[in-house]
Structure formats: C-alpha cells, structure tokens
Amino acid sequence: MNIKRSASRKAGTGESASLEYSGPKLTDNLQQTLENIVTELGDAPDLKIRRVRLSGDRNVLAAAVHLSELADTTAVNEFVIGSLLDQTGEWNADTSASADTLPELILSHALNVGEAVLQEDWKEIMLAILSGDTAILLEGYSVSIVCQTKGGESRQVSESTAQLVVRGSKDSFVESVATNVSLIRRRIKSSKLRLEYMQIGTVTRTHVALMFIQETADADQVDEVRRRLAKISIDGILESGYIEELIQDKTFTPFPTIYNTERPDVVAGNLLEGRIIVIVDGTPFVLILPAVFTQFFQSAEDYSQRFDIVILMRLIRYISFIVLILGPSIYVALTTYHYEMIPTTLLINLLAQRENVPFPAFVEAMLMEITFEILREAGVRMPRVIGQTVSVVGALILGQAVVEAGIITPIMVIVVALTGIASFAIPAYNLAIAGRIIRFGFTLLAGMFGFYGVTLGLIVLVAHMNSLRSFGIPYLFPFVPLSVKGQKDTILRLPLWAMKPHRSPQEAREDRPAGTKVTSGHKENLAPQIRRKSDGDTAGGEVGQEGGWDENKS
C-alpha cells in the first residue's frame, strides 16, 4: 500500500495525469477492483460502496460505487441500486436465455436511469465517479456500468448581477454547464445548433462546452477554436478567464479579444450572428468569440429598445470611452501646456483654484486617479453593506475634504469623477479596465509632452489596436478595414428590419468578415518579406487575390 501511494504521488507531481497507475486496475475480481478504487481515492470518507447480490439465475456479486457528496443520493438509491435489485429479480428464463453477457443484460433490462454506458477504461471510470456518477462493478467482469447520477448542490438560475438591463430577459447563466446549455437550447430550437464537450485541465478535468450554429459559423474558425482548446495544457481550469487567456490571439495587450457574458440572450444573439461560444463548468461567464472592439460597446438592451435611442446610447458609450482614456490627459495638457486654449473666464477660475495647491497638475491627476482606483477596488471587495459606506466615505467625504484641505483643485475632482463614471458607462467591464490602464499612460504622456505626447500616443494606440486580431478578424472591424455593410450594428444600430432578420446562413456570413487568416500568434501581422527568389517574371500582370473585405469586392 505504502509503496503504491508514494508511486502515485510521484506520478502526480510528474507531467502526466495523476490517475495513471501501473498494471490493470479494473480486474474481474470485484474485491480487488474495489480495493483499487478505495486506494486511488485515498480512503475518501464520502466514497460509498454498496454491495448487492443479484438474484435470479445469474447469481452474481455486484457493487455500486459513488461519491455521496457529489451524486444525487435519491437517484443512486432508487434508480440504480433499487432497480438493480428489483428488476434483476424479475428476470425470467427469456432474459436469462439471451446471448448477452450480464453487463449488457443489465444495461438493456435493468436500470431506470437516462444515461448508462459500459466502460472498460479505468481512467474514465474514475473520472465518472469523481464527476458524481455511479459505477456498477460485477464479479467476474472487467467492465463497469457507469450510470449518470450527477447531483450535488448547484445555484438556481437567477437574475444577472454583472450585466443588468432595464428591459430584457432576467435569467442568467449558472455554474453548471448542463443548465447553461439548457438555457441556450431553450432559446435556439434549431437542429443546426451544435454542441461539443471536452475536458480540459489535467487535474480538474473541467467540462468545457463548445457551441455554434452549423453553416452560420465559419467552419475554419470553429476548427481553429477546437485546435486551440485541444492545445491547452494546464493542470486546472477554474474559470472561463483561464481559457480566454490561453486561446486569445495575442497576450501583450490590455484589450480583450474575447467577449464574456452571463446573459443567455446575448449568447443566443451572438450564436445567430455566427459566433462561437465556449461554456466552462464552474463559472457563469460564457466566452463569445471572435470579438471585435465594437462588440464591447453593445449591450443586451440595445435590441429591445428603439433603434434611434440606441444609436444615441451607443454614441454616449463611445464618447465615454474617449473621456475615460483622454479625460485627465487633456486636462493636464491644457493647463500645463496649452493654457491659451482655455476660455479666459474659465482660466481665471482655474488659476484661482490652483493658487494654493502644492502639486503640479500631473501629480495631482495621478494622485486623484490612483485614489479613485483604490476606492473602486475597495468598494468591489467589500461586503455589500459596508460597500455603500465605503463609497459614501470615499466619494463624498474624501473628495470634499481633499478640496477643502487645498490639496487638490475642485476641477480635478470633477475630471476624475467624470472619468470614473465614464468607465462605468461602458457595458463591458474588461474593456473599461483596459481604458483605465491606458488612461494612466496618456496622463503621463500629457504631463511630459502635452498634446504632442497625447497625439503620438493616440497614433500608437490605434496602431496597436489595428495589429490585434480576434481569431483572424481585425479588431477594429468594421471601421478598419472599412466595411459599409458591417456598419449596421456598430455605432449605428439600424432598425431590425434593415438588418435583414430572415437571412440565410450564407447571407449572414457574408455580412461578417471572413477570417481570412486564422492566426494563433501575431506572425501574420508582420510586413511581408519580398524575397528575391519569389521574383518570378510576371510581366503582363496578374490580378491579385481578392480578399474577403467589402472594399476589395467593390
């Protein structure tokens, strides 16, 4: 025993799966197999083994193994053990006379459970037990019947907490993949909706579901997602963020290139638009990919409100993003470099405010921004009751005290508060975070070089965004490369009738950019190298290959 354990530990620390043992674990000796299971799970107290003797003419010893904390105990008792005992007792000569082996017979004639399979692979059996299923072992057979008895506690479907809407569906995803899939299936009753399961994480063996609509989604993209998911080698996946980080195109960027949501209606809408979703067990946040910049400015509510109002809202969100990244930097640049731009009366006000402030505007801005970030961070972690106190203390008292003490000018408080609020006006939290980080860079540039720094920073920022791709799709699509067709749902949100709701999958795909190149890194973004070798004599001209973008088609 001891030797075996140390061996298992060694195996566990190694690169391969920890469940690997030497020698066959699943034997036709029931007692031996059960011992193996107990050993492997380390005498787990919640491991329940129920031994039964099957009545009838095939008088065989059997055992049902499950983890009591994980499995649905009622299901195990009634449908597995109950039916095993009752139904085998009712077997008559007919059943006995059939040519099937006993496990097959049990599978076909007993067991009132929806899903039960024969399993000969030891690892799979262990995984099934660890997932809450029940394994039935029979004396004399080196095969197990795995019955689906997953249970255990899971959260009820409730209202979304992260993405609220005034009008729209009120359900949200939960931590269970099965429930989440059901929420989506309920919305899209199409035979084209495809679902694939895989398990990722050598230790956690987390269920990951991949969903897309056949024909609407780009087949290459689906393949690429599958490939990238398969390539993941990590011991554990505890949240969809892990997957996001491991499969996105490029890691050196603050911008998110994969969207996440906990709203089933958003997921359903994106599936219809041909995107692929990844559901991870254990988190209500579902990944949607590919995701471009404009997508992060869309809210679920955009499609339940009137389109003209939505256009206004969207504009406000884009403006908020600009305010968020440029607010403090413009203030710093204006007051320390380009004071002549400020209207005289306002300038006098600012001057009077600044008269007794000890810090330069740049330091002041940085101080206030950092203070604001601290407050926000504290507010997020606080229990809800204290959270309000913190925000009141932070926002009102600190803000006012800081001004009264003459440390910070009131206008700076206004600027910081504005950028803070602007960051909350952006529907996607991860984009807002990106904006907040960039804001610091811009403030620095403004403090050093005024508008010169800010302008250069903007160019570099846009270039950086242009270099990003999400599963082959340029991040700034449909602005760059410009697509007129693609503008239907960006800053504008055309009325639904104009967006052609009854389009065929083919048409739907044409509206989106085809990922001409699905890339996993940023190699393809490099400038091409024209080698001397490729200088074929092509006098006369050859029409270049037409890309997938609208502009090339025209």
Binding site: M341, F449, V480, P528, G541
Partner: protein
C-alpha cells in the same frame, strides 16, 4: 503569404502622406495669391508622373521599385541604384523628421530639445512599422477621418467667426501665368507630389492590380484639391502677405477662430494635424526604405528596423544647424537631386520596360 492591402486603406495612406507636412506649411507661395492655382497645377503634374510609376507597376505588379530596377538594369547597375533609392528614402524620412520636430518646436514646444521630440516621433513610427505595413495603412484610415473631421470643423468655425474674406483671393492671376509656372517649377511638381516615388515600394501590396493605381491617383487628386483649398482658405483669412511670411500659416489662420469667447485658440488642432501628417510621412518613407533593405539584402524586415530608426534620427539631427539652413538645403535637393530619382531614373526604367515588354509580347501571345 503576402499581405494584401485594401484599396480604401491605400487611398487613405496616400491622402495622409500627401497632406502630411504640406497642409501646414506654405506651399507654392512664389505664386502669391495664386498659390492655390499652382498647387492644382502641381497636382496634375503629380498625377501624370504617378501614372508613369503605375505603368511600371502594371508591368511588374509583384515587384517593388528596387526589384524591377535590378531586373531592368541588371545586377551591376541595379544594385547600386537600389541602394541609392534606399538612401534617398532614409534621407527623406530624416528630413521630414527634422521638418516636423522643428515645426513643433516653433509652434508649441519652445524649450524641449529637438532631439527628444524627434526621438519620441521616430520611436512611435518604429513601433507602428514593427507591427507591419498593413497596420500602418489601417491606422492611416482612422487618422484620415480625424484629419478630415478637424478640417471640416475648423473651416466651419472660420466661417462662423466671419474671418473668411474671399475678395483677398482677387484678382486671380494678377501677374499672369508666370509666377504660377515659376512656383510649379520650383516646388509644386516635386513637393509633395513627387514624393510619391516611395509608393512604388508599397504598391506590390495592392489588393487589386488593375484598380489600385487609379485609386492612388484619385487620392493624389483629392489631396491636391484639399491642399489647394487650404491654401485658398489661408489667403482668404490672412491675406497673401502674412501667409507668405508665416512658416506655418495654418496656425495663425486657425487662431483667428473666436466664437463668443468660448472656442478660441484652437490652433492646437493644427499641431495635431501636423503631428499626424509628419508621422505618416516619415512612416511611409521609412517603410519604403525597410522594404527595400529587406528585399535587397534578404534580411528580415524587423531586424533592420531599429538600426534604421537610429540612422534616420541622426540624419535629421545632423542635417543642418537651423531650420533656415535645413530649408535651404531642402530647396537645393529639390532642384538638383530629387528630380533624378523621381523623374529621370523612373523614365529610363519605363523605356526599358516598354522595350522588354514589346519584345516579349509577340513571343508570348
């Protein structure tokens, strides 16, 4: 796989490249009030010259300038000529860097050392080129919108503040055609339209061989119209004399904007336009040089990026002691050196290409 750059993006990079510094400096003012006419004339010449480049491109759609130079002139003449072109592009990038930083220093950054301004600029350019030519052209699309928006905004504000007096443009052609012709010959046929030679290095990336050059020609024409419009605007706001004495006439023009004491001194927009223009101008020359180097020496594109950036930086720094000297030298180059590269060599190449094509055409078809 070669990268194909869409037509809209090519249009925008051409537009920004042409507007570049030309938008803010005074252009063709040897023609006085009629500067705008000389710009228009220069545009037409520019388009004609560009169609020559386009002919070369149509003949060798997969090759860059340095590529077909070697093909047509042979290895022993072709390689030195290609090298000269690369040096030309690096030099042009350096000169534009100097132009831009000096103008910035004159306009707002009085105390900041030129070296710092230039370094920041060339580092940003290098970063964008590090991301690739495609990223550069895509970025240009966004900034074309921004520049046009600023232009429309400022024009509207000028109209609203009542500063535009069209009669200052009159009488048109007071002294006949001669001053216009002089201005065109001195400046406008080369600057900024002659600089299109750098696009011969980028054109192999065009996504559409047939339409591509036409799109670029349209962009040249558009930029010529915009430049002409801007110059006419400058003169109609300030009068020809003040404009001719201002190195950056657009700045005082925009500073005339004053709307009920709230919107005033928006000349920082001009500074922004200047930065954007200079940026893309340097970037295009830089990219042309980089493509040439990587093609000529078979080096990876990125490896030579930062060394070349250093070369450009020091070219710009050691170029001249002051701006006047720099401009003087620019004038000389414009007269004596650039025409060789912009007109003479391409013309020779065209003739050679035509002969070759003519000879090979009957055989193949």
């Amino acid at each position: 796989m070669n990268i194909r750059i869409g037509l809209i993006q090519f249009f925008s990079i051409t537009l920004l490249f042409e507007l570049g510094t030309a938008l803010v400096v005074n252009l063709g003012l040897e023609a006085g009030k009629d500067a705008w006419l000389s710009i228009l004339t220069g545009t037409v010449i520019g388009v004609i010259v560009f169609m020559g480049y386009a002919y070369l491109y149509w003949t060798y759609p997969k090759l860059t300038l340095t590529g077909y130079t070697r093909k047509l002139l042979g290895k022993y003449i072709g390689i030195p000529v290609s090298l000269l072109y690369i040096i030309l592009f690096l030099n042009l990038a350096g000169r534009d860097l100097r132009d831009g930083s000096t103008m910035l220093a004159m306009a707002t950054m009085h105390n900041t050392p030129l070296f710092i301004i230039s370094t920041l600029m060339i580092l940003s350019v290098a970063y964008v080129l590090h991301k690739g030519v495609e990223v550069l052209t895509r970025t240009s699309l966004v900034f074309t919108f921004i520049v046009l928006l600023i232009g429309i905004f400022c024009t509207l504000l000028l109209m609203l503040s009542g500063s535009i007096h069209l009669h200052r443009l009159l009488p048109v052609m007071e002294d006949g055609l001669r001053p216009i012709a002089a201005a065109v010959l001195q400046q406008n046929y080369m600057f900024p339209f002659g600089e299109m030679i750098s696009f011969t290095m980028l054109m192999p990336y065009l996504s559409n061989v047939k339409k591509g050059p036409w799109v670029i020609a349209a962009a040249i024409l558009t930029s010529g119209l915009l430049l002409s419009f801007t110059m006419a605007l400058n003169i109609s706001v300030l009068g020809a004399d003040i404009v001719s004495r201002a190195p950056l006439p657009l700045m005082p023009v925009i500073s005339k904007i004053s709307l009920s004491d709230f919107i005033q001194r928006v000349d920082v927009f001009v500074v922004m336009v200047l930065i954007i223009g200079v940026f893309f101008k340097i970037a295009v020359f830089f990219a042309a040089a980089m493509i040439g180097i990587s093609e000529l020496f078979g080096l990876p594109y990125r490896r030579m990026l930062y060394p070349s950036a250093l070369i450009i930086l020091f070219t710009s720094m050691l170029d001249a002691r002051n701006f006047t000297e720099h401009l003087e030298e620019g004038g000389r180059l414009l007269y004596r050196v650039y025409p060789i590269f912009v007109l003479l060599i391409p013309a020779i190449l065209m003739v050679l290409a035509a002969i070759r094509h003519h000879r090979s055409a009957p055989r193949s078809g």
